[in-house]
């Protein structure tokens, strides 16, 4: 498993040279608090993000909870919620490390084959991850609204600033999951 710093070291070592792009790492350090806030925003709302994504996926495809569907009965629905949480957890790890290696090695490696063997539909899984992406990015930027969330509306309330780079990075980890599954 690598983080942003060890990633720089491993690529420098490949050419037995010193790490020369210190400026990029300084940027990582300077933006460190934003990153920690972003991880906190996802971790603190994890169960909401996951249940919302799975519920949304089912709303769009009711067949999933009818007899023979992949979220029927409760046992399989529970497995689905559990998997959503696991995927989201590895995404927070990747976001914390600033590198996708932990997500690749510990979550995505072989996941597609496992799901194919278990008969888990890839399109539905991808849709759930897409919803998780949308709501996670909304939580990171605090752009979620009462209209979207209803009674469960909650904001992190951290100071507003330019989080575009961080948002793009977090989004890329979700996209990575989607492309690994499709």
């Amino acid at each position: 498993m690598l983080d942003a710093f060890s990633r720089a070291v491993v690529s420098a070592d490949a050419s037995t040279s010193v790490v020369s792009d210190i400026a990029a790492l300084r940027g990582f350090v300077a933006e460190g608090n934003k990153r920690l806030d972003a991880v906190n925003a996802i971790a603190s709302n994890a169960s909401c993000i996951v249940s919302d994504a799975v519920a949304g996926m089912i709303c769009e495809n009711q067949g999933l909870i009818q007899a023979g569907g992949n979220c029927y009965p409760n046992r399989r629905m529970a497995a689905c919620l559990r998997d959503g949480e696991i995927v989201l957890r590895y995404i927070t790890y990747a976001l914390l490390a600033g590198d996708a290696s932990v997500l690749d090695d510990r979550c995505l490696n072989g996941l597609k084959e496992t799901y194919a063997a278990l008969g888990v539909p890839a399109t539905s899984t991808g849709r759930a991850v897409q919803i998780m992406k949308a709501s996670s990015l909304a939580h990171i930027n605090d752009t979620n609204t009462e209209a979207q969330a209803g009674k469960r509306f909650k904001q992190m309330g951290s100071a507003k600033g330019d989080c575009s780079a961080l948002t793009a990075e977090a989004g890329s980890y979700f996209d990575r999951v989607i492309s690994a599954l499709s």
């Binding site: 060890s6 010193v18 350090v29």
Partner: protein, 164 residues
Amino acid sequence: MKSVVTTVITSADAAGRFPSSSDLESVQGSIQRAAARLEAAEKLANNLDNVAKEAYAACIKKYPYLNDSGEANSTDTFKAKCERDIKHYMRLIQYCLVVGGTGPLDEWGIAGGREVYRALNLPTAPYVEALSFARSRGCAPRDMSVQALVEYNALLDYTINSLS
């Protein structure tokens, strides 16, 4: 590669939980100290060749027998390899400064080092001398800030201890 962040993630993953606030505090702690580490890494990178050359000269001065025929520093090829080894250690130290942990030194420098030096019949004392010279050569604020020098020296000490 062992660093504060990977250690935190490994333990969170073993427990199957999201990063907790104490995990984030640990990472924050490492980020706070990162400025000094990165400064040292940058200064060392800019001057690595000279630092290695001086350290190498110092160890040959202390152990002149190495120049004798058949010894580790007797031919030009050997000399180049000796200097490269010192440079190799300095580069790993720079990596450790970047990562904020001893992972690169442990994995690429120390692991198996004893066996290699024994197999090649190389003495470790000159390496210790060269690194000790570098240890006393660094000076704040001429070379880098005080805290950066502390981080740099700590890694030199770690390498010296692993060789002695």
